[in-house]
Subunit: 420 residues, 2 copies
């Protein structure tokens, strides 16, 4: 994989150029893209032109190449939302996230595969670790492109678990920041209270570097030794749904972090958070029926069956159900804040296990609650199952404490990497 931070340091040191990085990506693309299928559109010619621009010198992103999930609008490349309804769609403007990335000195290399409308119907992408397995969804291409070394940085979005889950399945770092830390302007909406943009890169320090560069926020975690965090191991009511390998991965991560000096305790979530987990689906579906009203009412036959079925069901959710789910959310956020007063972060599975076979994109069950809470989440890579498929563990931070979440994730990542 290409470490964004390592590349940036080499560019800073004058031993590498943005143009040379494009060629590194191109080599990986030549070698891997046919089997992985991470991109909907590649613009190597445009990227080569932009990477040669002297104005990139000293820019926060150093001229590094970046990919965007194809539900993120780009004025210079097609944006089809993974849906035949949008075949050939070419937005008039870049999404805010794209324009901010360019502003920060990023070079757009291409658009990455999304599931249809960022829901569950898979695209063409395969897991770089085993092509018989899903890369996860809905940000399938962004996770797979980074995992295959074809891009150092890619952006995606999460409504249920669409950043953390594919990052876990592909064995890369995935960072879903606090709700609205990355703007959603110009990103195809599924659920406006949930949709959250996030960052994929090789390791935790790399996602922190890229997110810091794009936002101008103090999120970098590569300057100095991370402080040992207070970690609350959180099994949640879904623990029985996790595979034995995943249970082992979370417990291994906890043990290694403790051995490295972290204070590890265990918390049991109060019942209101299980209620909130259920409320996430109500909010998501109620909003999707409205956010996708145009597609559902005018192009119903061109929506995949799995998405159509969701929207058929969503039509029956009442405003009262939705308002009750919103009230539950508010109470759950308060309960979570109280619960986390004694810890910096929680440690919990990123997914029920390793990537399942192609055909589904896996389950977001271990992600939905944290998306609803607006909490920063980081997939920490480094562990594998017996079949050498990645197993991701998840660090969940407190709302607005994104840097603390990244620091703790870096600590756990290092503890895993340095294990005897």
């Amino acid at each position: 994989m290409l470490s964004a931070l390592d590349l940036a340091r080499r560019i800073d040191a004058g031993t590498l150029t943005p143009s040379a990085v494009i060629e590194l990506c191109d080599q990986a693309i030549v070698a891997r893209e046919a089997a992985v299928g991470a991109f909907t559109t590649l613009d190597l010619a445009g990227a080569r032109r932009r990477a040669a621009d002297d104005a990139l010198k000293g820019a926060p992103l150093h001229g590094l190449p970046v990919g965007f999930k194809d539900i993120i609008d780009t004025a210079d490349l097609p944006t089809e939302y993974g849906s035949p309804i949008y075949a050939g769609n070419r937005p008039r403007a870049d999404a805010a996230l794209v324009a901010m990335t360019m502003r920060a000195g990023g070079v757009m290399l291409g658009k990455t595969v999304t599931t249809e409308l960022a829901h569950l119907q898979p695209g063409k992408t395969r897991n770089p670790h085993n092509p018989a397995h899903t890369p996860g969804g809905s940000s399938s291409g962004s996770a797979a492109a980074v995992a295959a070394g074809m891009l150092p940085v890619a952006f995606g979005t999460q409504t249920g678990g669409s950043v953390i889950r594919p990052a876990a399945f592909c064995g890369v770092a995935g960072f879903k920041p606090s709700y609205k830390l990355l703007p959603m302007v110009g990103v195809k909406c599924f659920s406006w209270h949930l949709d959250t943009a996030g960052t994929f890169a090789a390791g935790v320090a790399d996602v922190a570097f890229a997110t810091a560069a794009v936002t101008g926020r103090d999120l970098r975690v590569d300057r100095g030794k991370p402080v040992a965090p207070r970690i609350a191991l959180t099994r949640t009511h879904l623990w029985p749904e996790a595979s034995e390998a995943m249970k082992g991965a979370v417990e291994t991560a906890a043990r290694l972090a403790a051995a490295a000096g972290a204070h590890v305790s265990e918390v049991v979530l109060p019942p209101i958070l299980e209620d909130a987990w259920r409320a996430q689906a109500t909010i998501q579906d109620y909003e999707a029926f409205r956010a996708l009203a145009f597609e559902y009412d005018r192009h119903r036959d061109r929506i995949a069956a799995i998405t159509r079925k969701l929207l058929d069901h969503a039509a029956t959710i009442t405003a009262e159900d939705y308002d009750a789910a919103r009230r539950t959310t508010k109470r759950a956020r308060q309960a979570l804040a109280d619960l986390m007063a004694g810890a910096d972060v929680m440690l919990t599975p990123s997914a029920p296990g390793a990537a399942p076979d192609l055909g589904s994109t896996g389950s977001a069950m271990f992600n939905r609650l944290w998306t609803l809470m607006g909490a920063p989440c980081v997939n920490v890579p480094g562990l594998f199952d017996e079949a050498r498929l990645p197993l991701g563990v998840q660090i969940v931070g407190r709302f607005g404490r994104d840097r603390a979440a990244l620091e703790a994730a870096l600590f756990v990542e290092a503890a895993i990497a340095d294990r005897p």
Copy 2:
């Protein structure tokens, strides 16, 4: 003016058809549009075709014609955001609000004039009460079209005061619901924590009817006598900025409401709300610099000077300033909730006075705080200054208590209308 509720009742009674309503609008358009300039695009032919559809029978909006501010995406009509950057722009999809309006049996009659990118650069619209005066902004055309009897219902948006202010200047009812009650999917973004869609119609019962129809929520206030509300007269720290006529209007409204049976008290806002008023500008501008990054970075010369100047300034706002403004907002919301425990609504000016001359769109100073608070606001029409220009008074409700805000506004509206 055309009362949406009255038209709907006549359609229900079989004494009017949706097609006949289109002709009523057309007559007003022929008589007034040349002088008022409320529309960017009119689609009378399309509206006539859709109004003849039998499927509209029994639909919540009864086949009534509706206009949409031209920052709201429409697949069937151009959407130019009031900006030359978007000349000829034709979105691929309808905004959620448009699709929901169609779903509810609305008939799109046209797009209404917005200021450039919903900021301060005026469009062509003039005040229907006096063409030398502004209709207000940024939802200029929506307010003016309703005031001139050219439409019974129109939608707009408010980031500072862009629903309540033009409604006040044009002498119509304007309803800015609680934040996100109407979805913003497919609406050009200026500031994602502030932008709020709202409804224009002849009277308070009409905005309630139309918003209820589109959302499927229990917001109608036309079924039974309104209960006398507890009203807190709120002068705010901006009271010295209000004209004598406006001060008189607010005090008259309070007196008439009290005479009609309302319990009227007076509240002084705690200092945190003045801090929040200032924080609104920080949040708005910080987000606008990102939401409009594409326009600013790629088409700077095609942005009006007043907007360019705002964005030049916005570039200097730091993430720390922004985060502090967000924290202030959170504390202010709590303080406001505490303050309003003893009242149903507040009564305060909708604007500093009547509509100023053309050249500006007036000031949003009396609106910005309430937009930031996410509180439902209603402009109550019915009072005028000595020059016969409308003076609007504003009812501000508690977040999520939209129906109570509308009921109180209806009560005040009736008290004004029934004055001796």
